[in-house]
Amino acid sequence: MLRKYWQNADFSKRDGTNMTNMNQSTDHYFRSLNRNIILIIIIVSVIPLILVSSTIYYQFRVSYHEKVYDHLRELVHSHTQNIDFFLQEKLSDIRFLTDSCGRDLLEDELFLQERLAALQKDFGPDFVDLGVINADGEQIAYAGPFKLAKADYADAEWFRRAIQSEYYISDVFLGLRGLPHFIIAVRNSREDGYWILRSTIDFATFTTLVENIRLGQTGFAVILNNQGQLQTTQITRPSIDIIASKTIYTEFLANPSVPPSEVRITVKSDSSQHENIYVAAFLKNGDWLLVYQQRLVDAFADLNRAFIRTTALMVFGVLGIIIMAVTLSKTIVRRVAKADSEKQMMRKKVVEAGKLASVGELAAGIAHEINNPVAIMVEEAGWMGDLMEEVTFDESENQAEFERAIEQIQTQGKRCKEITYKLLSFARKTDTTVQDVNINELLEELVALSSQRAKYSMVEIRTDFQENLPSLRVSTSELQQVFFNLINNAIDAMDHDGGTLTISSHQSENNLVIAVSDTGKGIPEANLDRIFDPFFTTKPVGKGTGLGLSICYGIIEKMGGKLEVESTVGTGTTFLTSIPFQGDAGRQH
């Protein structure tokens, strides 16, 4: 991808219109990089999070369900046992009474009242009343709060059932008293036939046994007889409608379980479209059905709360991951982009350096090739001069001209030599080998090289060098590059208008300070911060690369020095270079 990007960059150099294409492709690349990083981070973090969380939640849910069901099963089972035990206990009491006292004693109402009082004393208000009924259904003795003496039960359903078996526990019915109750009847026999001792069980006490079963907001239990009639008071809990569950009760009743004590659990929607858990078990030898029911949402309210909490946590977690992914990706992309642009800049610098090097090589080649012909020309002129000494011209005027011309050839030949040597000494040292550099000599050399340009730009070059400066241990060619750039920039700044270029060198503690000042138009403050930025240039298109000062800055930084600029618009600019002497050269001096 990067290579592709560089290829694009190559084209863009040649064609200005491609620059926008390059920017677009770079933008596109970084956008897709950003997107990919975000996606990868999110996928890698969120998917395991979701997998782990949902697996844990699923396992938890299964075991929680089992726990709830087990608990309800146990609850219903123990309550059916309780109720059966309660009924058995009451039956045993009545049987004991019949067996121990006999009909003769019990027919005495006073004795009967005494027995009732004793029972009530022992068992609380469970027993409401006692009655002795003969085989014709006539109540011959009664003890209790109602006026039921001499009552005739011959047609009562319970009586018909009771007279046929040794004992009988009835369903709940209204009876003669007009109140819901149920009775326990024990049959006994005397010579004149069967007789029955009957006791009414307090309905409220009995109901309490079932009403105790209450769980959560909606859990309650009811007892039904095998006709589906309620044997307990209808429990009034908000938003509970027993009628809605009627069909479900019927289903339980229609399928009697084997063995009768088996506890059955189903989850079904009632007719009001609420999902309920039904836990049912038969009691009283399959006559009655205890049904516990609870709304599903209520039964698993804890689980639902846990689910909501976990989900909320996970959503926050995922949000966190997304925010982190976006931030991280932005940071990474920003860094990559920065590194990329630095790389691009480096590449341009390398290209620039390469150009300088090839220009240098070219100059060296030309200089060298020119020196030989120049040497021959100078020698020929010298030979002519030698010969002139022997020849005497008739017209002395011409002889003088010849001599002048020969001398001029020799002078100009020497000038050629000087130019080529300067060119060579500048171009030759493009290497970065560190060596002892005499800064003043180097500056003089550069001044000489620039003097012609300065003359054309009407710039006067002044130098102010501190003598006997210690030498610097740096790369000559790099230092040449720096000051050549600074001097050229200064001359550019004063182009057309002319001015004075002052180059000074002095030692300040362990540093060598070189100031290059011009009296040009100065640099506006807005540009001052940016002049060392690569590609920043105020020169017209094609005149400057904007690299010169940034390269200078880089070179001086590398030498451990500083390159600073001071400028006042309209007055001029000074570039201050400060380079430390290596080792103790500075101190020795």
Binding site: H368, N372, V374, A375, G382, G413, K417
Partner: protein, 144 residues
Amino acid sequence: MITPLVMLVDDEAPFVETMTKRLKKRNLNVMTAFSGKEALATLDKHRDVDVVILDVKMPGMDGIETLKKMKAACPLTEVVMLTAHATVESAIEGMKFGAFDYLMKPCGMEQLMGKVNEATRKKRDHEEKIREAHVKEILAKRGF
């Protein structure tokens, strides 16, 4: 002083020719060679050459190589390096290998004559000292 015998070595024929004429005009005995190889061959025949003016950059055997061989064959012959090059370094390197001095092209005739005379004087002094040493040795042997 006896007229110095100079050998001029350079691959640039016009330069050699003109320079020869100018040196001869200044009463020097001049021999020429246009390559390192030729120069070595000539020196082999004329071991009394006082000064060799040797161009540094020549095709084939270059100046430095030629110098080394010359110094090996005739240690007393002095060599002045002549360079049209930026390669002052190579001229200096030549001095390490025993060259008398170096000059940069194009050079003034006075400058060149000066170097040639200095080199000749040095060579003659050298020869004189050797001769004196020989004489002393002979005298010592004979018991004087």
